[in-house]
């Protein structure tokens, strides 16, 4: 179901829980599907003993993918025209993430959004934007 421009107002906020208590297995699942097998995401021994991090952490692209679900649930299938993000903080196993999309502009059949994803401590882990085609 696509959005209608006439029903969107600048400042409207859509939010969704993206994941609760992120599991290491989901990170493994993402590694397998995406083909990014960097041990930093799945290999606790390498990541703690060699790379010097406190634990494995999620691929930034997993967070972008989970945030993408919030966007496509909002704008409808096959409607996104742009989606871009910066990864601002790492996401760890056990994290709970919430995403928000805030309408910044609606013009010429395109809606623009600011996109933000935060963890359970309120730390922003992803910050970006999206654009989508909307109905009149």
């Amino acid at each position: 179901m696509a959005l209608s421009a006439s029903k969107l107002k600048v400042g409207d906020v859509h939010s969704a829980r993206l994941v609760e208590d992120l599991k290491r297995t989901q990170i493994v699942q993402y590694a397998g599907a995406s083909g990014d097998y960097n041990p930093l995401h799945t290999d606790e021994i390498f990541t703690t003993k060699v790379a010097g991090y406190p634990s494995v952490f999620a691929h930034g692209m997993l967070t972008m993918g989970m945030t993408g679900r919030m966007l496509t649930d909002l704008v409808g299938d096959a409607r996104l025209t742009k989606y871009g993000v910066r990864f601002t903080s790492q996401v760890w196993p056990g994290d709970t993430l919430d995403g928000t999309a805030t309408v910044t502009e609606v013009a010429d059949g395109i809606a623009r959004f600011d996109v933000s994803t935060k963890n359970q401590d309120g730390v922003e882990v992803l910050s970006g934007y999206a654009e989508a085609r909307v109905d009149p």
């Binding site: 696509a2 993206l18 994941v19 989901q26 699942q29 993402y30 397998g32 599907a33 995406s34 083909g35 990014d36 097998y37 960097n38 041990p39 930093l40 290999d43 021994i45 390498f46 990541t47 003993k49 060699v50 790379a51 010097g52 991090y53 406190p54 634990s55 691929h59 930034g60 692209m61 997993l62 972008m64 993918g65 989970m66 993408g68 679900r69 966007l71 496509t72 649930d73 409808g76 299938d77 096959a78 409607r79 996104l80 025209t81 742009k82 989606y83 871009g84 993000v85 910066r86 990864f87 790492q90 760890w92 196993p93 056990g94 994290d95 359970q120 401590d121």
Partner: protein, 176 residues
């Protein structure tokens, strides 16, 4: 990077959608997808990242018979990690990713990816020493040569691992 062929396969889309926690039937149920505006199974917005599966030289995939920097008998299988591997001190991390969608990506499409190097720049980071950013732009074209997705990625190499902020007083995240 050389141009490479990236077949968009329904089973791969299903696995990818599952991995990002997206149960939308448009990503796995051909019958249900036919009735949607998409008209068939499409790929989720970040799917082209998995073109890595079809890059024979992708450096973050173990290769048969070659050393791998992840743990086995020892914490790492090699003494010096390859570029971007996050060995020893710091390593390569993904800083930004941007997509432009020119049309929906559908199961059955066959893409060809061509990557162009972009800018590089440096910055002094508070938590990880000197940061070296580098950008690349990948154009994904379909079987008819039409542009489907343009992807711009920014990677960052850090001098040392990103320092972690002190854990909050409540809501401890990691067990020792």
């Amino acid at each position: 990077m050389a141009a490479k062929t990236f077949p968009i396969e329904a089973g791969h889309i299903m696995m990818f959608a599952r991995s990002v926690g997206d149960p939308n039937p448009v990503y796995y149920d051909a019958e249900a997808a036919k009735k949607t505006e998409a008209g068939g199974v499409i790929a989720p917005p970040t799917f082209v990242q998995s073109s890595a599966q079809f890059d024979p030289d992708y450096f973050l995939r173990p290769k048969i018979g070659q050393p791998w920097f992840g743990s086995g008998k020892n914490p790492t299988g090699i003494t010096r990690a390859p570029g971007g591997g996050g060995g020893g001190g710091g390593g390569g991390l993904h800083a930004e990713q941007h997509y432009e969608y020119h049309r929906p990506l559908k199961a059955g499409d066959v893409l060809t990816a061509t990557t162009f190097p972009g800018k590089t720049w440096e910055k002094e980071g508070k938590r990880s020493g000197k940061l070296v950013f580098s950008e690349s732009v990948t154009e994904y074209r379909d079987q008819n040569g039409e542009l489907v997705v343009t992807a711009r990625g920014v990677g960052v190499r850090t001098e040392r691992p990103v320092e972690q902020p002190a854990p909050p007083a409540t809501g401890k995240k990691e067990e020792a």
